[in-house]
């Protein structure tokens, strides 16, 4: 059976628009694969590569890619990696689109380049398994070619031993009406305490985050999902659950978009700990707490099983995304710097409206929603109003909460954070005084020198 993919008509307009403007364009196909249907949600052109500024300072040169041959595999793969962070679970970079006049599939040079772009992308997306970069359901990626107002789509197996492109035909269909989405929401809560083991594990923030995300994945793997408080048949389609629930006012339900479903996850305690008492010297404790807000969107005919996979992917992908972003921005990977208490506050999730569903982005503490719009424009090629960004799904950490935790944690005769902050206070005042004295000296420097000169 020929693989069929459905895309909203807005995608066609997007392709037309770029084909009209430029000779060559490349970008990503974002969407969802379910057994019942494959849906494309969005096409996002790969931004133009900034040539490293060795030529002249300040002037960032944009290299215009004009043919398939000039495309950088690494650049497209990097785009896919960053876009994956913005996708809820169950959504993936499904492949690439190309707008060009040159032939892609029948031109050996171009097609081998296409294959190498896809292979490279696949490899990069596989580096961090917690990102779920490659859709686990398929080994194939889509290539959509728009040329002279015609659309040709093929499916290509990545890393295959087949010589040549090995492309299979795909039936790409534009639908006038945008697909309806079943939304599922939950808040996954963390509240874990780990010992700090300087001798055993070192003191890296990155390693600690790695441990957390691995543990979370193990817990999620075995956890049981309930929808609206009930355990559902895993093979039931989601829209069936709605119908089953509301047989009376089915009329109103059919016109309204489907209501969001509440997801609960229950983790059985299956310990993978060794069956012994471990005895460790620890230098403190790590408290990892807070929530990951999760909203996933599925084709209403998708099964409960598919929804469950999407929710679980979403939570892990979101954790991995923020940890990666946080660690990339870290200057010091030391879990225990000079201070007695150290906070690591990874960026929080905000929701970005795209059509009738939401993708996401992450805001560092202190960043305004406008910052998210930059990456939306750059990576998704979308213009969204700042007001449309939903920032309330998660809230930034309240530092007073930390202080309270501090006090809790340090009641046991150990170096209290109050002491630490008192010290900071004293140092602060001393520095301020010093600055004052120096500035007075500087201000009156000429007077003083004159006075000194007079004396001499």
């Amino acid at each position: 059976m020929v693989r069929t993919v459905y895309a909203p008509e807005s995608c066609l307009q997007y392709l037309e628009q770029y084909a009209a403007q430029e000779k060559f364009g490349i970008g990503l196909i974002l969407g969802q694969i379910t057994e019942s249907r494959e849906n494309v949600i969005h096409l996002a052109r790969t931004p133009e590569e900034k040539v490293s500024d060795t030529i002249s300072e300040g002037e960032s040169l944009l290299e215009r890619v004009e043919s398939m041959a000039a495309v950088s595999e690494a650049w497209v793969a990097d785009h896919a990696k960053h876009v994956t962070r913005m996708l809820p679970g169950g959504m993936f970079v499904l492949g690439i689109f190309i707008t060009s006049e040159e032939e892609i599939f029948d031109n050996t040079n171009a097609s081998s380049k296409v294959k190498s772009v896809l292979n490279y992308m696949h490899k990069v997306l596989n580096v961090n398994p917690h990102m779920y970069g490659n859709c686990p359901e398929t080994n194939e990626k889509l290539v959509l070619h728009y040329s002279n107002k015609t659309v040709v789509c093929k499916s290509i197996e990545v890393n295959s031993a087949i010589k040549g492109l090995g492309a299979k035909p795909v039936d790409w269909k534009f639908t006038p009406k945008e697909c309806q989405w079943q939304r599922l929401d939950t808040y996954y809560e963390f509240d874990e305490v780990y010992p700090v083991l300087v001798k055993k594990n070192g003191i890296s923030v990155k390693d600690q985050f790695q441990q957390i995300v691995e543990e979370a994945q193990k817990a999620l793997e075995v956890s049981v999902m309930f929808i609206d408080g009930e355990l559902k048949d895993r093979l039931d389609p989601l829209d069936q659950l709605v119908k089953k629930k509301k047989p009376k006012n089915a009329k109103s339900a059919s016109t309204d978009p489907p209501k969001s479903m509440m997801v609960s996850l229950f983790v059985p305690f299956e310990s993978s700990m060794p069956e012994t008492v471990e005895y460790l010297e620890c230098d403190g404790s790590i408290h990892f707490s807070g929530v990951v807000a999760s909203s996933v969107f599925l084709y209403p005919k998708a099964t409960v099983k598919e929804a469950e996979a999407a929710v679980k992917q979403d939570i892990i992908r979101s954790l991995a995304s923020r940890f990666t972003m946080h660690c990339d921005a870290l200057i010091d990977d030391n879990l225990l710097p000079e201070e007695k208490v150290c906070f690591n506050e990874p960026p929080r999730r905000v929701l970005i409206p795209v059509g009738s569903l939401y993708l996401c982005d992450y805001l560092f503490p202190g960043e305004a929603p406008a910052e998210a719009l930059l990456s939306v424009r750059e990576l998704l090629d979308l213009h969204v109003a700042a007001a449309a960004v939903l920032c309330g799904a998660e809230t930034p950490a309240d530092t007073s909460e930390f202080d309270a935790l501090d006090r809790d944690a340090s009641t046991e005769e150990l170096a209290t954070p109050q002491e630490a902050s008192q010290a900071m206070y004293i140092i602060g005042i001393s520095v301020a005084l010093l600055v004052l004295v120096v500035s007075i000296l500087v201000h009156y420097y000429s007077d003083i020198r004159r006075a000194v000169g007079n004396v001499v």
Binding site: Q208, S264, P274, V291, E339, E345
Partner: protein, 586 residues
């Protein structure tokens, strides 16, 4: 209105055996349907000011609570100690006071508005209690990480109990889609109707014919396995939802020693079959908390011991459930992993005394623990034989559990030569189940090797298909278990009845299975029925020559386990009997 009173026949029996008239006792029971059922007792010795009953409660199944006191003597006058105990009775407003005088006459009284009201009671047999009650067994593993100090353990355990009681946990009945939720969820129960009872749940669990099931449940306690799942998500509509994004706080402290271990929670609750599943949630929360307290006691005890003080020698606490025939109810113990039973004898002896149990046999060693998994073997098949009581004869049976070992088990093609080996294995299993040993059941090869090692057989014996007899069984028991045996020699099968009184004595005193061999095939004798007037005897035989599947009905109906008359023995062949002896110990 004071409750109706029922008392377990085990309690009556043990009360009748109390020697001292000085001591006082506590009674434990549970309430159901306006009835107080007394299931257990302990003797309160008032040693070193510890309220032993408070500690003992942690060892009892959840729902069983302190319900009253026993006073030995004639009068109802209460001293302060008894009054204090009565104040701790929470399960009913009308604590029970049983007085027993020197003539062992027993009277039960409810304390109603500070006045004693004598009350009638009904005695419930063990079988009747099993018919009405079942056990719910909750298993889970909680990771435990804390400072290696008593305060550290106590603190973290208290937090765990708080978390369990917070409503965030749910319970899942294994093998079903039945989940019970706490207050943190909108629904209390899914997978079954809201007014379903425990009994209905059990019926839906086993698709067997109800008639067949009843036969099974007459000699086995019914246990419903439940596990614990923790709700890791927050409901969006919940008022308590704090939407703070994930964050990490690291607090540096002076280096200190920490322990990290998987805490295995394994706990029982005793439930009346008519209990609604909706009511089970709070029982299971209580059961989990009770188990955590028991585990905490075990850990704190270890930390308090010398040499372990810093936590380095801390051992994993392991939970065992015991259901001794003499006790009639479950008792749960937590023992440190790897500490041999032999070095914990004084604690067990104290427990035997506290519960007024015989001190001549182990009841609370690891081997005594209740087990559901017997490697597929049949346990005590003779219990399925309908009893035919005869008033004029003495019946003495094997005491406690044994496993039926017979031909072709474990893939060994031993038909034709392995019967005595199998009989020996059955005896060995009995010693394991009675807690005398933790040594694994020896294979045919192990037995042969043992006989070669002690010089009884040439080395070519190992791997052969040669028979062994009663003396070889005796040698092996002595070598592998340190068990001494008596050998009885019967010149002919006709002589066997002469030894029947000795067999009666053996079963009464030692209770171990007897291996019989000699000129003909080997068998295991697990009971004897002797009529002193006529000197006639019947023998309960467990036949190791059975080659079929582990099917109780076949084994019993076809006589592979059954009563045999004197003519079972060959009149012309000679017989050797190996009677394994036990030593008094706990």
């Amino acid at each position: 209105m004071s409750p109706r009173l029922k008392i377990s026949s085990h309690v009556i029996e043990r009360l009748s055996k109390v020697e001292s008239d000085e001591s006082t006792g506590c009674l434990y029971g549970l309430m159901y349907d306006g009835t107080l059922l007394v299931v257990g007792l302990s003797l309160e010795l008032f040693e070193d000011d510890k309220n032993t009953y408070k500690q003992l409660l942690l060892n009892l199944p959840t729902e069983v609570e302190l319900c009253g006191v026993i006073k030995f003597g004639d009068s109802l006058t209460m001293d302060n100690q008894l009054k204090d105990i009565l104040k701790d009775v929470d399960i009913t407003d009308n604590p029970l006071v049983i007085i027993i005088n020197k003539e062992k006459d027993m009277k039960a009284h409810f304390l109603v508005h500070d006045k004693f009201e004598e009350t009638q009671y009904e005695v419930l047999s063990a079988a009747e209690i099993q018919k009405q009650f079942l056990y719910v067994r909750l298993n889970t593993v909680l990771p435990l990480r804390c400072e290696a100090t008593i305060a550290g353990v106590k603190n973290v355990m208290q937090n765990k109990r708080k978390k369990i009681a917070s409503g965030q946990v749910s319970f899942h009945v294994q093998g079903t889609s039945v989940y019970m939720f706490g207050v943190a969820s909108d629904v209390a129960l899914t997978g079954i109707s809201n007014d379903a009872t425990v009994s209905e749940l059990v019926d839906s669990l086993s698709p067997e014919q109800p008639a067949k099931k009843k036969k099974q449940s007459s000699n086995t306690v019914e246990i419903v396995p439940v596990n614990l799942v923790m709700k890791s998500t927050r409901d969006i509509l919940s008022e308590k939802l704090v939407k703070t994004a994930v964050k990490m706080m690291t607090t540096q402290r002076k280096p200190a020693f920490c322990i990290s271990m998987p805490l295995r929670v394994d706990t029982l609750a005793m439930i009346h079959r008519s209990t609604k599943l909706l009511e089970l949630y709070s029982v299971l929360v209580e059961a989990t908390c009770r188990a955590l307290r028991l585990l905490e006691t075990g850990l704190v005890e270890q930390l308090g011991q010398e040499g372990i003080g810093d936590g380095a020698g801390l051992r994993l606490p392991e939970t065992f459930h015991f259901l001794p025939q003499e006790l009639g109810h479950f008792l749960t113990r937590v023992v440190p992993k790897g500490i041999p039973d032999e070095s914990m004898e004084s604690e067990r002896r104290a427990l035997h005394e506290l519960l007024n149990l015989p001190t001549d046999r182990p009841l609370f060693r690891r081997g005594n623990a209740h087990a559901d998994n017997h490697g597929g073997r049949l346990i005590n098949p003779h219990e399925a034989i309908p009893s035919q009581p005869r008033s004029d004869s003495v019946v003495a049976l094997v005491r406690g559990r044994y496993a039926y070992h017979h031909y072709l088990q474990d893939g060994a093609a031993d038909d034709g030569w392995g019967c005595a080996y199998r009989s020996m294995q059955t005896i060995f299993s009995w010693f394991r189940y009675q807690g005398y040993t933790t040594v694994d059941i020896p294979t045919h090869r192990d037995i042969q090797k043992c006989l070669v090692d002690i010089g009884d057989k040439p080395s070519s014996f190992v791997g052969s298909k040669q028979w062994i007899g009663s003396t070889e069984v005796m040698f092996c028991l002595e070598t592998l278990l340190g068990v001494q045996s008596r050998i009885i020699f019967a010149n002919t099968g006709a002589e066997m009845s002469l030894y029947a009184p000795e067999l009666v004595h053996h079963f009464q005193k030692h209770g171990s299975p007897i291996m019989i061999g000699g000129g003909v095939l080997a068998h295991t004798i697990i009971g004897v029925d002797y009529n002193p007037a006529t000197s006639e005897a019947r023998y309960l035989i467990l036949d190791p020559h059975y080659t079929g599947a582990e099917d109780l009905t076949t084994v019993v109906n076809k006589g592979w386990c059954g009563w045999k008359n004197g003519d079972f023995w060959n009149k012309t062949a000679h017989y050797n009997l190996c009677l394994p002896q036990t030593k008094p110990c706990v």
